[in-house]
Symmetry: C2
Amino acid sequence: MKEAKISPSVVRRLPIYLRHVQDLLDAGIDTVSSKEMGAKLDLNPAQIRKDLAYFGEFGRKGVGYEVEYLARKLEQILHLDQQIRVALVGVGHLGMALSNYTRFQNERITIAGLYDQDPKKMNMQVGKLRVKPLLKIEEDAKTIGFQIGIIAVPAFSAQEVCDVMIRCGIRVILNFAPSSLKVPANIHVRSTDMTTELQSLAYYISE
Amino acid sequence: MKEAKISPSVVRRLPIYLRHVQDLLDAGIDTVSSKEMGAKLDLNPAQIRKDLAYFGEFGRKGVGYEVEYLARKLEQILHLDQQIRVALVGVGHLGMALSNYTRFQNERITIAGLYDQDPKKMNMQVGKLRVKPLLKIEEDAKTIGFQIGIIAVPAFSAQEVCDVMIRCGIRVILNFAPSSLKVPANIHVRSTDMTTELQSLAYYISE
């Protein structure tokens, strides 16, 4: 099932809903209203109902959402009911931070390959993995089957890494390099650039 | 001038517009149409016109936007016509990555204080700064005047760091810890959590 075009901002709220209902599930809570969710997540209940309605009729008037069903459904929608293997290229500080994050946070999304072009980093141990040369990624892709690629290299080599990832069959890319990437229409890239992030926050500084 | 309530997604596009017009300026280009910008930035021209119209009448029909004026105006709106000083708490891999990023990318936004609670990191040199104990931040805030705080500590100490920042007069916070923070209504927090980011990207994996 692939739904009609859902806006990226809706998609970005789904993991937040998922985390919340997982917490409720852990706490033994069976049902939750959009109002309760809204209060907890600091979101408009109408927004929550609208977001979730994209994916089917989850809630019941006066009862709310069945927590377990909603959790399972959100996992499905986000493909988190399967194992997701990530290839990470660029094992600098950012790459290291990302490896630590995902290693501890979520067992469904695993970094399954670490690559770098710096000879000094070859064979460096990070968690259960060893850093390999970028050239190895194509070979690994065949056996491991990466679904997501993370680009954590400097801007000047980001496009090259991106092209290699696409050749490996990776169609979803998270780009941390401060450069925009040229990709075919069937590839989904999300660029998150710390500078842009900080600059947009500067808007909220009061004069 | 503070404008009517602008949605966060509009604000987050402003630095992208700014970077683009700065590039045009460097290339000696005087005017640009929303259509040209749209093609370059992969955005709908109508969206660009709408976004910019929030802040005044920039464009002229048939001529487009004056690049220099638009650049200067966007800098003003984002407060990037002034020096912005950032306090960064948490000098692990992520903190190090952030220090490197902003040090090289943008002279207007400077990390002006680095703090950590780990005794092993005290006095560690990062660029021009030395890591100080978190306790020092309140004293420094008085002399340096931080406008933005970045939280790059583990989840369990994020709220504590956040509270300290608010006591220092910091009202804009970028939170990388995977935990939601409780703050008064006049504080602007943006949380970017790598796990949520990856989970929402998993939506785009095709079955």
